[in-house]
C-alpha cells in the first residue's frame, strides 16, 4: 500500500478507495498548514483554510493532470483557499495592519516572555515587511524547500517573476534582520 506512486494513489481514490486520500496528503500536512499559518498569523484560521483546501482537493481530484506535480497542485489549492479566506473576511488589503496590531498585542501580552511566543514574534516581524506575493514565494522556496519550477507552478506565475520576488524578499529580510538582531547586539 505504501509503495504506490502519487498518480496511482490519485487513481485509487478516484476508483473509490478513500483510504489513499490521507496517504496522499500526509507528506504535506505540516507544510500546507504552515503556509496558511504564516500568511494569516493565526493557527485556528490556518486549520480552517486547510479544511477548505482538503475539500477542494478531494472534489477536484479528477481534474489533476497525471504526471504533473501533485505537491505544486495541492499547494496551489491551499494558496487559493487562503486568498479566498482573506477576501471573505475583507482582510486582504489590511493584512499588514493586521500583523502590526497582532505584534503590538503580543508585546503587551505577559506570555511574551515565553520563548515560543517570542519566536512567533520574530518570524512575524520578519515576514510582515514582505508583500503577500513576496511572502508566498519566500515561504515556499526558503521555508518549504520548493524548487523555482515548483514555486512558479504552485503560484501560477513565471520563474522569472519568482526569482525577482525572491531576490527582493531576501534583500528585505536581510535588511530587517540586521535592523532587528544586529542592532541589539
Amino acid at each position: 500500500m505504501w509503495m504506490k506512486s502519487e498518480d496511482e494513489m490519485v487513481e485509487a481514490v478516484l476508483g473509490g478507495d478513500k483510504q489513499y486520500f490521507e496517504l496522499l496528503l500526509h507528506p504535506y500536512r505540516q507544510g500546507i498548514l504552515n503556509m496558511a499559518y504564516r500568511v494569516t498569523g493565526n493557527l485556528e484560521e490556518a486549520k480552517e483554510i486547510c479544511q477548505e483546501a482538503f475539500i477542494k482537493i478531494y472534489r477536484y481530484l479528477g481534474k489533476f493532470k497525471k504526471g504533473k506535480s501533485f505537491k505544486s497542485w495541492i499547494y496551489k489549492i491551499t494558496m487559493n483557499s487562503t486568498y479566498d479566506f482573506l477576501r471573505k473576511k475583507k482582510r486582504h488589503e489590511d493584512l499588514l495592519e493586521y500583523h502590526k496590531s497582532s505584534l503590538v498585542n503580543a508585546v503587551r501580552d505577559p506570555e511574551d516572555l515565553f520563548s515560543k511566543k517570542e519566536m512567533k514574534l520574530k518570524v512575524e516581524s520578519l515576514l510582515k515587511i514582505l508583500s503577500p506575493k513576496e511572502r508566498m514565494i519566500f515561504l515556499l522556496r526558503d521555508g518549504e524547500g520548493f524548487s523555482i519550477k515548483e514555486t512558479s507552478d504552485a503560484l501560477g506565475c513565471s520563474s522569472i517573476s519568482v526569482r525577482t520576488h525572491l531576490s527582493q524578499a531576501r534583500r528585505k529580510i536581510r535588511e530587517r534582520f540586521e535592523e532587528v538582531y544586529r542592532g541589539r547586539r
Binding site: 481514490v13 478516484l14 478513500k18 486520500f21 490521507e22 496528503l25 500536512r29 505540516q30 498548514l33 504552515n34 499559518y37 493557527l43 490556518a46 486549520k47 486547510c50 479544511q51 482538503f54 475539500i55 482537493i57 478531494y58 472534489r59 477536484y60 481530484l61 479528477g62 481534474k63 493532470k65 497525471k66 519566536m119 512567533k120 520574530k122 518570524v123 520578519l126 515561504l139 522556496r141 526558503d142 521555508g143 523555482i148 526569482r163 525572491l166 531576490s167 527582493q168 531576501r170 534583500r171 529580510i173 536581510r174 534582520f177 540586521e178 538582531y181
Partner: protein, 167 residues
C-alpha cells in the same frame, strides 16, 4: 563583474538559483572585493537564521484534528471528469461522437469529387440510344432508362422527327 551587478545578484547566490558561470564570476569578485564579501556574509547569516526560525516555529496538527479534517473532506463525492479532460480521463464515447461529427462536417464542406461525380452519373437518364439499322431512315427510336426509378421510355421519331411516345 562590477560591484553593482554582484550586489544585485547576491540574494540569488543563497539558494543556487544562478547559473554556474555567474556563480564562478561572483565568487571571483568576492575574493577581490571585501565590501561585497561582507554583504554576502550578511546575506548568508540572515538566510540561515531566518530558515532556522521558520523551522523552529513550525506548527503541526494534533492527530485527532488531522483525522477529522481528512474525514470531513471525504464526505463529498469527487466531481466527475468532464469529457474534454486530458487522456486517459477523457471519455471515449465523446471523442467518437466528435470524430463522426467532424468527418460529416468535412464531407459537407469539402464535397469530395468521388461522391458528387458518382451522383451526377447516376442522374444521367439516357442510357442507350438505339439507332435504326442503315437503310431505314424513315423511323428512329430512342430508349431512355432511369437507373433510379427503373422507368423505361422509348421514343420513336419518323423521318420528319414527329414524336410518337410509347411507355
Amino acid at each position: 563583474m562590477s560591484c553593482y551587478k554582484v550586489q544585485r545578484l547576491l540574494p540569488l547566490m543563497l539558494g543556487s538559483e544562478l547559473s554556474r558561470r555567474k556563480i564562478q564570476a561572483i565568487n571571483a569578485h568576492l575574493k577581490k572585493c571585501s565590501k561585497c564579501k561582507q554583504e554576502y556574509d550578511s546575506y548568508v547569516l540572515s538566510f540561515e537564521r531566518t530558515r532556522k526560525l521558520l523551522r523552529k516555529n513550525r506548527q503541526d496538527w494534533q492527530e485527532w484534528e488531522w483525522q477529522r479534517a481528512v474525514k470531513n473532506a471525504l464526505k463529498e463525492e469527487p466531481s466527475r471528469v468532464y469529457p474534454l479532460a486530458p487522456w486517459p480521463y477523457k471519455k471515449a464515447w465523446a471523442y467518437v461522437v466528435m470524430a463522426v461529427f467532424t468527418v460529416v462536417l468535412a464531407l459537407f464542406i469539402v464535397r469530395p469529387s468521388f461522391i458528387w461525380e458518382e451522383r451526377e452519373s447516376e442522374s444521367e437518364m439516357i442510357s442507350e440510344i438505339k439507332k435504326p439499322p442503315s437503310g431505314q431512315q424513315d423511323i428512329i427510336s430512342m430508349t431512355i432508362v432511369s437507373k433510379e426509378t427503373g422507368i423505361k421510355i422509348v421514343w420513336f421519331f419518323n423521318k420528319n422527327f414527329d414524336l410518337k411516345e410509347k411507355k
